[in-house]
């Protein structure tokens, strides 16, 4: 156990930590856009962000921290002028008013762009199926989708969705906060508590019915070493005679894990 990398905490924490690992006893509504599931309601966005850190905000992380610090959104003059142009072009149907600061002066936001929170398919499926706290509607006609319909939609998007989802649930049941790992060349990134508090500990790659490619392995290992993380390879197993795309066979998936890390033996 001495060789396991421990989660590294961040120095600056711009969010207060809530102990809830996921939203409990609430009804959230998300819209399936064809790529991901988006949340528009402001309160829902807050609960998702605070409880378990689900989803990704449409605004950059620095911007959110700046707003939390000063309490007001800052905007450059060029952006303000651009927004004025947009207002002329598209008109404004907004009922609310929002005050922003442009070069130190407080002004009214001429063209409010609502921020959304995007959930990737595995995350949305988890909130919908396991926690029953998310109702997902079709973004085009507004009809609510059943679990089976959703499963089909997600499987059409990505053929290996069932194995990804199995890995997601397996890791989630061990209290990890899971984000998409394309930043570091993996499928998932595992955080303790969330990206606001800790650096990612593992980069997850899935191995389904194949061996680990040697050259790919080395490159991933190098990336993981330079970013102070560990590569976690999850081997996903499924019985050959069953249909992996069916939702009823989900519990037949089994997982086995192994973590790798480059070792420099010249220093002992």
């Amino acid at each position: 156990m001495a060789n396991v990398r421990k989660p590294m905490s961040k120095k600056r924490k711009y969010q207060s930590f809530e102990e809830k690992p996921f939203p409990i006893d609430c009804n959230l509504i998300g819209y399936f856009t064809g790529l991901d599931v988006e949340i528009f309601d402001e309160n829902s966005i807050k609960t998702l962000a605070n409880c378990g850190c689900f989803g990704e905000d449409s605004r950059p992380r620095q911007m959110i921290s700046a707003i939390e610090k000063s309490g007001i959104e800052k905007m450059t003059k060029a952006m303000y002028e651009q927004k004025l142009k947009w207002r002329e072009k598209f008109g404004s149907s907004q009922a609310e008013t929002k005050i922003i600061s442009v070069d130190g002066k407080e002004k009214e936001d001429p063209f409010i762009i609502e921020n959304t929170r995007a959930l990737f398919p595995e995350e949305a499926m988890f909130l919908h199926k396991e926690l029953n706290c998310l109702e997902i509607r079709n973004a085009i006609d507004g009809k609510s989708l059943s679990t089976l319909e959703l499963w089909k939609e997600f499987c059409e998007l990505n053929e290996s969705f069932p194995s990804h989802y199995a890995a997601y649930v397996y890791l989630k049941s061990k209290n990890w906060v899971i984000k998409l790992g394309s930043k570091f060349g993996g499928i998932f990134l595992l955080y303790k508590q969330g990206p606001a508090f800790y650096h990612a500990t593992y980069i997850v790659k899935l191995v389904v019915n194949e061996r680990i490619d040697m050259l790919e392995f080395k490159t991933h290992e190098r990336v993981a070493e330079n970013t102070k993380k560990q590569m976690l390879y999850l081997e996903i197993n499924f019985p050959d005679d069953l249909d992996p795309l069916s939702i009823e066979n989900l519990h037949k998936f089994t997982v086995r894990e192994a973590a790798f890390q480059r070792k420099i033996l010249t220093t002992y």
Binding site: K6, E19, P21, E130, V169, S173, M214, R256, A259, L265
Partner: protein
């Protein structure tokens, strides 16, 4: 090389010694040279540069080197048993070689390392073996190691580690012998096991499973001590444990539950000890239906094996008293990477848990070590 050694009947005088040494120091090959943006082998500049550097290298290799012939150990190669008997030992060999019938023997790869380091002269039919010949002889018909394995061995030993070929039987015996020497009482060890279990840290599951009665006894005793020290009554959340204490289940069932615990205890479970997990455990239990794949000995087989046991350097190294620090699997880039199940089989073969390191050797004999956590 050994064939070209000229033996001086007289001793060299001081000025000659200095002259020989200085000549060696004057020559040094450096990687300096002009950098070209476009590389043409036909251009004159490059041809000149290549010629001059090859000349330098030849001159350096041709230089006479001086050393005293009695500063090296002497060994004789025994072809039948493929080993080297050392007749005169100079210096310390520490972890190299083994004793048999009051004679010291070296394995071929160990001898080759010593020849490369200029510490050993080996005779074969009264003729000194040159370095080239040694490679041919030792890696010929009945060699124990492949070339890649030897390079890993030599690399690790030059760094300073003690490297030995893995022998699982020998390893198991050594581990038992060391444990017996420590003479830890069963009762004392059980207390540690119970405490470690309480803290969700790894403990000896097999030992606890075998000594079930002692385990229950120590657990009850520890609770009494807890009440006596703190003055509170014992409010433990795991009431199931209490039931387990007083119920008389058949021992086979209990053993099974213990072995399941071994499988679920994993490096990825570290966040299960967090307060967040404990207070919301019921919710987590709802969706933990995807399990870890159970290890089945009969279904799986592994073509991989441990090649070496590596020991951290120590001033007073004793082979019988030190446990290995790493176990090395040597593979080349052309080989297939071991699967999860193959690695798990290897892990379970060990007498005691040691970090597994996979050494990959590339075609240009560069090494890359990666630590594997299971």
């Amino acid at each position: 090389m050994e064939d070209n050694t000229i033996r001086y009947d007289k001793l060299l005088n001081g000025s000659e010694l200095i002259e020989f040494e200085n000549r060696l120091q004057d020559y040094s090959i450096t990687a300096k040279g002009q950098k070209y943006e476009e590389y043409n082998e036909d251009s004159e500049d490059i041809q000149k540069q290549i010629e001059s550097s090859t000349d330098d290298l030849c001159q350096l290799l041709e230089l006479k080197r001086i050393s005293m012939s009695n500063k090296r150990s002497v060994g004789i190669y025994e072809e039948d048993s493929n080993r080297i008997r050392v007749n005169s030992i100079l210096g310390k060999f520490s972890w190299l070689g083994y004793m048999e019938n009051k004679n010291m023997y070296l394995k071929p790869h160990e001898a080759l390392l010593l020849i490369e380091m200029n510490r050993l002269v080996v005779f074969y039919n009264e003729v000194i073996i040159s370095l080239e010949q040694a490679y041919v002889l030792f890696f010929g018909k009945n060699s124990t190691l492949t070339m890649e394995e030897y390079y890993v061995f030599s690399n690790l030993s030059r760094i300073g580690y003690g490297v030995m070929i893995h022998d699982s039987e020998y390893d198991r015996k050594k581990f038992l012998a060391i444990n017996n020497r420590k003479k830890v009482k069963k009762e004392d060890e059980m207390i540690w096991c119970v405490l470690l279990q309480k803290l969700n840290l790894p403990y000896k599951h097999e030992f606890v499973a075998n000594e079930r009665e002692l385990y229950l006894k120590t657990k009850v005793n520890l609770r009494k001590h807890f009440v006596a020290i703190s003055g509170h009554s014992y409010n433990d959340d795991d009431e199931d444990d209490d039931k387990e204490l007083y119920q008389d289940e058949p021992p086979s069932k209990k053993l099974k539950s213990e072995t399941n615990e071994v499988d679920s205890n994993n490096f990825i479970d570290i966040l299960k000890t967090e307060l967040q997990y404990i207070s919301y455990e019921k919710f987590f239990q709802k969706f933990c239906y995807i399990k870890r794949k159970q290890f089945d000995k009969s279904l799986e087989s592994s073509s991989f094996k441990f090649n070496f046991d590596v020991f951290r350097p120590k001033t007073h190294f004793k082979r019988t008293e030190q446990l290995a620090s790493y176990r090395i699997i040597v593979i080349t880039y052309k080989d297939e990477f071991p699967t999860h199940s193959q690695l798990e089989i290897l892990k379970r073969q060990q007498a005691y848990d040691v970090p597994i390191v996979i050494a990959t050797v590339s075609e240009n004999m560069k090494f890359h070590y990666s630590l594997c956590v299971l």
